[in-house]
């Protein structure tokens, strides 16, 4: 209805509406009596008849885009403009006209409405804002002005209520406030992270300052120790020469003494050299067992026949992330300490073994460790000495025999590798120093991506890991592959980076965050819009890794990580065999009866496990040669979700059984008539997973027949599923 204002009774019958004019004058000309008359007043002055005023009122109301209503002094809606009908989504004005205005509002706003009506009746204009749904239930926010409308005698006759729809404005405001709040939170988090990092930096500075004395000594020693080494070598050489010529027991004793002193001097020089070198050591993934085995003969040399040394290393010892030179130096120091503690026929045992998380000693964070220990049956330490052991420069050895740096460097090494060192000692029984080094979350195999190098780089990666050592190392790996890496040490910091920077192409996250919030992180990442591709590293805790995500079990090889990155960035489509595909393989292997089929499945699996890729037609397997009598190869022609499948090679017996040549024939999805459900099964393989079906017939005729069908996807040069290898087997047995 195109209605204008429909007043139930006239309210402006006078020739001139002085009251209205005065009102407007008050509102628009606060300048005082001397101010020039406002434009509105001049315009109104042109209207001399009440009818003209009514027309003006109607025109204004009609033209208004706001919801304009007239409310009588009882608080009933008596009229409204067409905008009101539209804004309130009212089909028939009768829905509103005649109702108490207050009742059209929700409970929280009713008091405001009532108050406005009361004040309006007393001649006082008011305004308020509030929420009121439309007749169709759509939420709306309104800014409402309520103005009294007096007659020519100044008596208020009704109320003009103008409601402006501010919903969009308000939503924008709320959105802005939400965004501001998130941004503020993100900045607070980042600044807290910055503070924490600054604190760490200050601590590090303090440590550097504190260690300065040692480092000065280190540099000094490093400079002169080579000369000392030469001197010791000369003395040692001279002693050996003398030994050949001297026969007199007393003189021989002196020569022995001389030789031992030269050896000890050389050992000391080496110890100091190692210490001096520690500045330039690099962090890498290393195999401590291999290092220990390699150095075993040098360690025996340190003992110089004074005691027996046994070195025992577990053949399957895990890798460690740290500085290998420092590890070697620590081993030498500990063995040298042990030598000094033991008597002539003493024993020194060096042992290195894996310590799974469940067996770790108290005080160590959850995780796998590599434990190595050096034990002797020497003089042992008193409790007082034990308390001070580990302090730099603390030594009980006679002047010239020890630097006091040995045990200090042991503790440093353990801390640097995310582990701890423990000393047990008893006077007269012996000493055992055990060092726990955290198992590396990364395998030491360097990135071997000669063919893929050009595919890397040009993407921004968010790396979330709360272990600084692993995070630094992984960041280095990615930066070496020319990626931009943003590092986050915790869930909140990752979320804050996303809020502030956004736009990550890939998230690589440790699922086993120490604060136990790995799952929260996964949920958060999935909620991002758009949700970035993700790779999770897992295996360090008992929590089940996230389903339906790419999860690399620790320790992850750098090659594997690099390839998973390409895969996730969509640069190697279909190359990866999914975890689901590998689980399907396990199920299939448990069912297959036919021997040739078992071999085909095993060859496919071996290739996938070795390379993380599905094999191509040229890789080793029964698909490489002419197909077996009951085998076939189907080529995937065309791209997209619905490629054509064309028989490329078909085994002789299969063709014979079907009674027609299949080579060159194509299959479409749903083409059930050609070979039963093989068309659908073939299309399923395009996701890179194998498929298997068997049918066992026991039909009461004394025989059990088994028909098996195996379908394996094969990759092409681009890493997509380019071919499918099928194998059928018919076997028969006598029924039990």
């Amino acid at each position: 209805m195109e209605s204008g204002l429909s007043p139930p009774k006239p309210w402006g019958t006078g020739a001139r509406n002085e009251g209205l004019r005065i009102d407007i004058q008050r509102e628009t000309a606060p300048g005082g009596a001397d101010a020039p008359p406002p434009a509105a007043e001049v315009a109104y002055a042109a209207f001399e008849h009440a009818s003209q005023w009514r027309m003006l009122a109607l025109a204004l109301t009609k033209a208004s885009r706001d919801c304009v209503k007239l409310v009588d002094l009882d608080g009933r809606v008596v009229g409204m403009n067409s905008a009101a009908q539209r804004l309130l989504q009212i089909d028939d004005p009768g829905q509103l006209v005649g109702r108490f205005w207050e009742t059209t509002w929700g409970e929280p706003e009713r008091a405001l409405v009532r108050d406005s009506v009361e004040r309006g009746k007393a001649g006082q204009p008011t305004s308020f804002s509030g929420f009121c749904a439309t007749a169709k239930g759509e939420p709306r926010w309104w800014e409402v002005e309520v103005a009294p409308v007096p007659d020519e005698t100044g008596v208020v006759r009704c109320l003009l209520c103008v409601s402006r729809d501010v919903t969009a404005l308000r939503e924008r405001e709320q959105e802005m406030q939400g965004a501001l709040k998130r941004q503020r939170q993100a900045l607070l988090t980042l600044s807290a992270d910055f503070d924490a990092n600054s604190r760490k930096l200050r601590d590090a500075e303090a440590r550097v300052w504190h260690d300065d004395k040692m480092r000065m000594l280190g540099r000094f020693v490093g400079g002169v120790v080579h000369d000392f080494n030469n001197v010791f070598a000369a003395v040692h050489g001279a002693a050996r020469l003398l030994r050949r010529r001297v026969t007199e027991p007393q003189a021989l004793d002196v020569v022995n003494h001389l030789e031992r002193a030269a050896e000890r001097g050389a050992g000391l020089a080496r110890q100091l050299l190692d210490f001096a070198r520690s500045e330039s050591e690099s962090t890498e993934v290393f195999d401590p067992a291999a290092l220990l085995s390699r150095d075993a003969h040098l360690l025996r040399h340190i003992l110089s026949g004074e005691a027996t040394l046994t070195v025992e290393t577990a053949p399957d010892a895990w890798a460690v992330l740290g500085a290998p030179q420092r590890f070697q130096s620590v081993v030498f120091n500990l063995v040298a300490n042990a030598r000094d503690a033991v008597r002539a026929n003493g024993r020194v045992e060096v042992k290195l073994e894996n310590c799974p998380s469940s067996a770790r000693p108290p005080g160590l964070e959850a995780g796998d460790y590599v434990a190595f220990s050096v034990a002797d049956d020497g003089c042992g330490m008193t409790p007082e000495t034990l308390r001070r052991a580990g302090e730099p420069f603390f030594t009980l050895k006679p002047a010239g025999k020890g630097t006091g740096l040995g045990l200090a460097s042991v503790f440093e090494l353990a801390a640097a590798c995310g582990g701890r060192a423990f000393i047990e000692s008893e006077v007269g029984v012996g000493t055992r120093v055990s060092v726990y080094l955290r198992r590396s979350a990364v395998e030491g195999e360097p990135v071997n991506s000669a063919g893929e190098a050009s595919l890397h780089g040009g993407a921004k990666i968010l790396l979330v890991d709360d272990d600084p050592l692993t995070r630094d190392h992984l960041a280095d790996v990615f930066r070496a592959l020319h990626y931009v890496v943003v590092e986050a040490s915790a869930y909140e910091i990752a979320a804050a980076h996303a809020e502030v920077e956004g736009g990550f192409d890939l998230v690589v996250a440790d699922f086993d965050l120490k604060d136990g919030r790995g799952e929260a992180l996964v949920a958060e990442l999935r909620a991002w819009s758009p949700s970035p591709p993700m790779i999770f590293l897992a295996g360090g805790s008992d929590a089940p890794p996230p389903q339906d995500e790419t999860v690399l079990m620790k320790p992850v090889s750098e090659t594997r990580l690099a390839r998973a990155t390409l895969e996730k960035l969509g640069r190697l489509p279909g190359a990866f065999a999914s975890p689901a595909a590998l689980r399907a393989v396990e199920r299939i292997e448990a069912r297959i009866q036919d021997e040739a089929m078992k071999r085909a499945m095993a060859a496919w699996r071996a290739h996938v496990e070795a390379t993380q890729r599905i094999p191509t037609l040229d890789d080793d397997g029964p698909w490489r040669e002419a197909p077996p009598p009951l085998g076939y190869v189907v080529a995937v022609v065309g791209a997209g979700d619905d490629p054509e499948l064309r028989f490329e090679r078909v085994g002789s017996e299969l063709s014979a059984r079907l009674g027609r040549p299949l080579v060159g024939a194509t299959l479409a999805p749903g083409d059930e008539q050609v070979l039963g459900d093989v068309a659908r099964a073939l299309h399923r393989r395009l996701d890179g997973s194998p498929g298997y079906r068997y049918t066992r017939f026991a039909l009461g005729d004394g025989k059990v027949s088994l028909v098996e069908r195996l379908l394996l996807p094969l990759g092409d040069a681009d890493g997509r599923v380019g071919r499918l290898f099928g194998l059928v087997a018919f076997n028969e047995a006598t029924a039990p």
Binding site: E672, R693, Y694
Partner: protein, 125 residues
């Protein structure tokens, strides 16, 4: 004792069960009468195949309950086996349905009254 899915005399043992016992089996049970019409549809089968109620009594199994299995191959196999009266056919799929790693096994055995028992075993991922 609950018979296993692999039990040689599975049909005979399920035949001796009441509805409650059949519903308690870890695999689905369907019985078709001699005309191929569903007469029994166990609760496990309803739950596993996603049909909450049992509206399928009296429906043609292949046409209306499991159209994805209505290949001529499957129909023919079941029909031919039925006429012999001592059918025991087991079909298993791994990776052939939406669930790439799941396994579905179906065992079809003759029922005493000339119909068929269908036992459906699902191993989800």
């Amino acid at each position: 004792m609950t018979p296993s899915f692999e039990a040689p005399d599975l049909a005979r043992r399920v035949e001796a069960m009441n509805e409650q016992q059949r519903d308690a089996l870890p695999f689905g049970v369907i019985r078709l009468d001699a005309g191929g019409v569903v007469r029994i549809y166990s609760r496990t089968e309803a739950a596993l195949s996603g049909r909450k109620r049992r509206p399928t009594i009296g429906l043609d199994f292949f046409a209306e309950v499991a159209p994805c299995m209505a290949s001529p191959e499957m129909r023919g196999r079941v029909e031919a086996a039925k006429t012999r009266g001592s059918v025991d056919v087991e079909i298993g799929w791994i990776g052939d349905f939406a669930d790439a790693e799941g396994e579905i096994r179906i065992r079809v055995m003759s029922a005493a009254d000339g119909g068929l028992w269908l036992f459906m075993h699902r191993d989800a991922a």
